[in-house]
Subunit: 638 residues, 2 copies
């Protein structure tokens, strides 16, 4: 086939796919290989003809098998039968994203959210009682945080847990319809207990949101007295997960039901906590639950890998329209328009995968090493929030592009893409709405990680910016930016690519700080100032994530010993970065970072890089290492 | 609520919603009101718990009701019981897009594609035999064009229809697996006959693709001898439509089965046609079938209207996070980020709706007035192709944005958005893949409508461009562009908005012509030149559609007698155009059409326009006039 001639360096050929896959598998390669060996021989994804009930039943079976495999115990403490391997547990969940996303979510609910909350917020008495039954799935449980009226603003939850010193019990209650727990995984069918987040009330007053273990079903599966359970019904996807709604009518649980690591109530009703400030306490509690966000980012990326693998394989066999004089029709991946649909997204999938690996390492280090380093914890929370937002949006867009690239065949359930699309759609919403998460990222950056991610107190943030940060940020930036502007760049230079992303992040952040300072002026309406800057805030957060992702990419390439693989990854990095710059080149033009000529050259270079990577497209999707049985789509067959 | 103060003119208040709705209903208001009156009282959209079989059965019932209503006959000729109202028939299909899109597609297959093909390609003998039974749904039929190996390049279909002079019959045959008819609506369950597109072969040779009426099922629903029928199975959506696959093993049909308006075979096997050139003949035949593309564009827009109505209503009741000092939490549509998700898309939905109305008028005029004016026919084809691509991509993006804007509630089937999303996903593919359609648009522009849309003969196009058009296009542009660049614009001026879109279209087209001329150079590889310019080609086509859409908007506003409505629409127009310019402002910067300062001002103006239209959001979605029963989503209740 004819491809555009390129002036850029070419990639060594052939590439050692095993070597590439080792880079992609990373530190938890053994966990990945274990999943492939134990589950990779049979089809995992749901039959599209299944009813919701059938899919739920099948996921239930798989859950029991997972429990038997021992991988469910990876993330739990060793002295209760766990394996103290937090990174491994998240990697295991990420691998399930290649199979059935309903199973991934159900496993995430049981062992990540529910089990993770018991472990992170509870103490020995809860470990003794629950951890083994959680790991082996004898005790299916729920993570009951979200309420119908309170999705993003969970600090304003309305459910109450009121301590009654006379009986030594908490009374868990749903005071209004908007306080109903909603979208709760494991609630509609399987859950026997729920970790319920509620406003803690003692005779001494209110103490903010805390979590309690509340039984919701008896051994026969009937709702416990006072607990009303309903089913959320059919969803776009993830119909193997039994999402439901829970309401509590003055349900009594013993005092010991309180997960009391960060706040406890004595028998006499007196409240005490190691963290004085109520808001800080709540966000410290939330911060320990970051694993869920990390898992969702990873599984979203896995789903995008499956879709890209199917679309690239089909794009390499599907032919349409003959070139002038040609006998055979042209392979569709030889069309520039088709390459542009798939290859920049493939490059970005690589970049996000390396960032995910880095994030999992950070998670593992922070959570294995105790809670000592507050800055590391907050950086972790910030990066988890940011990468979750960027990876899930990337998955949504990529799976959509793959569907369209596969035409009518892509629309048939048998070819898998539509299920991936339907399943992952909510990933941009759950575990934190992406828009809200990016605001939290921006806030963390503006306040230099002063607070835990999660607290979107606008006024407090603005005050802090006004008082502390703006000048520093602004000064740090200007010198670099100026130097950047004066450079005459080599458009192939990886360092120039890096400086484009770094400079944008710093400039956006400095400008944001300047804008928000106006909120401190005497006649300003802080909400109006904040709201008018909201798009700026989101852009700045996204720019930060882009830079973090590039850092992780460079770490990976630096550590790569195989020159062929490193060379290929260098081209992938260039396509990833230049596609980002291309998409946001208006910003670079507006701020004098690119001339009009350079900006047009960026477009041309993206085209050239697509042509360069086209011969390696199959190698790149093979690098994901998805078991063949999990790719069982007629259009993906070789 | 606090909104950013605006320097732009404000909209008169209150707006007369009935007056707005009359503008939106347009010329075929009576058809819209008839649909509302007859069907608007009951829920139309599918129950998410239905199996595929149940949904198909329900759509079958609705089809029979539609046939009884008489609206199915709108698009057919009067002397066979039709009503000769082509615009009305398309409007009627568009209205079904507010209800159940499976029904819309099934109706489109039966009365648009299948019935339309019989009427457009057949002659009196076919009308006599089929039209009444088609209209009253006694004869469910298929439009069997697409083959497994031939989606976009339908001129290369492999199915053959070989005339046998001895028996006076055609032998319809599927010679290879890739020649199997695929994704055919009405095939898996209901179809009794199919209009089969096949290469016509006579003893004298091959004559290109023609269509024949081929029985596929007998009266008892069993496949006819030699016809193999299979089911495409579950799809992402549209599961009320029975898509299937058809293969023919030397199936014999009488000579009269050939739809013989554009080519006929005498009993002795001699072929004759009013159109000598085989390719031109085929695309003339395809051109008569443009109604399907127009219908899909309209129905996609309808689905986007439903999603926007639900998301805007929810955005006006849902509250999250309190502003500093506020008692109540903030209504989410008061956040700039939420406005930016929904309001520019709402504005563009208005623009596309007016363009759709204009397109339907053109269709009605061309098809009611006979086939006299070739240029009008080709303009119609070009605009149908372009608007179909832009409207269906807009629908995909808008429904996705609405899903995310509704958070977890948007993911529940009960709130309708996910079904709209799943149903419309394939609209970007069927009735012409959007990427291919935009290439056809570019080709029509480059060759000044020399040929029918549909013929993507790269070499022929390039030759024609080289020989004829490039200079003219280039000259026409340069003078205007220069004048434009030198202007110091008023950023609120509608004329400036118009010139931004016009200038971009002309410049892109001229540049494209210059690039493609290189293909005429002695040592050039025409495919490589074409392929390298493919992204440029798509951008130019999109720019043309944007300008056509603006023309239609201005026609509508000019004809609007109500000053309040006209004022509101003026703001909607500004938001639509400036959001387009904002999205493509890199181009304007690269080509000196906007300074960096102006470009940043465009961003600010989009924010301001969002704030201005925020109080009118409910009015604007009420303007769509969707029956309340069809909006039956818990989150959309008042």
């Amino acid at each position: 086939m004819t491809t555009t001639q390129s002036s850029l360096s070419t990639v060594p050929d052939p590439i050692d796919v095993r070597s590439l896959r080792a880079v992609m598998d990373g530190r938890w390669q053994a966990v990945r290989e274990d999943v492939r060996a134990r589950m990779g021989e049979r089809r995992m994804h749901p039959d599209p003809e299944w009813s919701m009930a059938e899919h739920r039943a099948k996921v239930g079976e798989h859950m029991r098998k997972l429990a038997e495999s021992g991988r469910a115990s990876l993330g739990f403490v060793e002295r209760y039968g766990g394996r103290d391997d937090i990174g491994g547990s998240v990697t295991s969940i990420e691998m399930l994203g290649y199979g059935d996303l309903s199973l991934m979510v159900k496993a995430g609910v049981q062992w990540g959210l529910f089990g993770g909350a018991v472990q992170a917020l509870g103490t020995e008495r809860h470990y003794d009682r629950y951890l083994r039954e959680i790991m082996d799935y004898r005790l299916p449980g729920c993570f009951a945080m979200t309420e119908t009226g309170h999705g993003s603003n969970v600090q304003a939850l309305e459910t109450t847990a009121t301590y009654d010193p006379d009986s030594g019990e908490f009374v868990v209650h749903t005071p209004t319809p908007s306080a109903r727990k909603d979208y709760i995984g494991n609630a509609a069918r399987d859950g026997r207990v729920a970790v319920v987040f509620a406003q803690l009330v003692t005779p001494g007053g209110r103490h903010g949101v805390h979590a309690l273990v509340v039984p919701i079903r008896d051994a026969d599966g009937r709702p416990c007295p006072g607990v009303e359970i309903s089913d959320c019904g059919v969803k776009a996807g993830l119909n193997g997960v039994d999402n439901g709604r829970l309401s509590f009518d003055r349900v009594r649980v013993p005092r010991e039901a309180l997960l009391n690591r960060y706040g406890d109530v004595d028998a006499d009703g007196s409240y005490h906590s190691p963290i004085e400030n109520e808001s800080r306490r709540f966000f410290t509690m939330l911060g320990t639950l970051v694993r869920g966000r990390v898992s969702v980012a990873g599984a979203a990326s896995s789903a995008a890998h499956v879709a890209l693998t199917i679309a690239v394989r089909y794009g390499l066999t599907r032919r349409q329209f003959a070139a002038p004089g040609a006998e055979e029709e042209t392979v569709v991946l030889d069309y520039l328009a088709h390459q542009r649909r798939l290859l920049p997204r493939l490059a970005t999938s690589y970049a996000l995968h390396f960032a995910q690996q880095r994030l999992v390492e950070m998670l593992h280090e922070v959570q294995s090493g105790g809670t000592g380093d507050e800055t590391a914890q907050r950086e972790l929370e910030t990066r988890a929030a940011g990468l979750k937002a960027v990876s899930t949006w990337h998955a949504t867009g990529t799976i959509q592009a793959c569907r369209e690239a596969c035409g009518g065949a892509g629309y048939l359930a048998e070819n898998r893409i539509v299920q991936l699309k339907a399943d992952t759609d909510v990933f941009t919403t759950f575990e934190g709405d992406n828009t809200v998460l990016l605001q939290l990222v921006a806030k963390a950056l503006l306040t230099n990680y002063r607070d835990h991610v999660g607290d979107l107190d606008t006024l407090g943030m603005i005050r802090f910016v006004v008082e502390n940060i703006a000048d520093t940020v602004a000064e740090r930036t200007s010198a670099r930016a100026l130097a950047q502007r004066l450079r005459d760049p080599d458009l192939e230079d990886p360092e120039w690519h890096r400086s484009l992303l770094e400079d944008r992040e710093e400039h956006l952040l400095a400008g944001l700080a300047r804008r928000l300072r106006r909120a401190g002026e005497a006649d300003a309406d802080p909400f109006a100032v904040f709201n008018a800057a909201q798009d700026h805030l989101l852009t700045a957060a996204k720019a930060h994530v882009d830079r973090f992702v590039l850092d992780a990419f460079d770490r990976t390439v630096d550590a790569c010993a195989d020159p062929g693989v490193a060379g290929l990854l260098g081209r992938v990095r260039a396509l990833h970065v230049l596609a980002l710059v291309e998409a946001d080149r208006a910003w670079y033009l507006e701020h004098g970072r690119l001339t009009a000529t350079q900006s047009k050259q960026v477009l041309g270079m993206v085209n050239q890089l697509c042509a360069q990577l086209r011969p390696h497209a199959r190698t790149l999707v093979d690098g994901f290492g998805i078991p063949e049985a999990w790719l069982d789509a007629p259009i993906a067959r070789d």
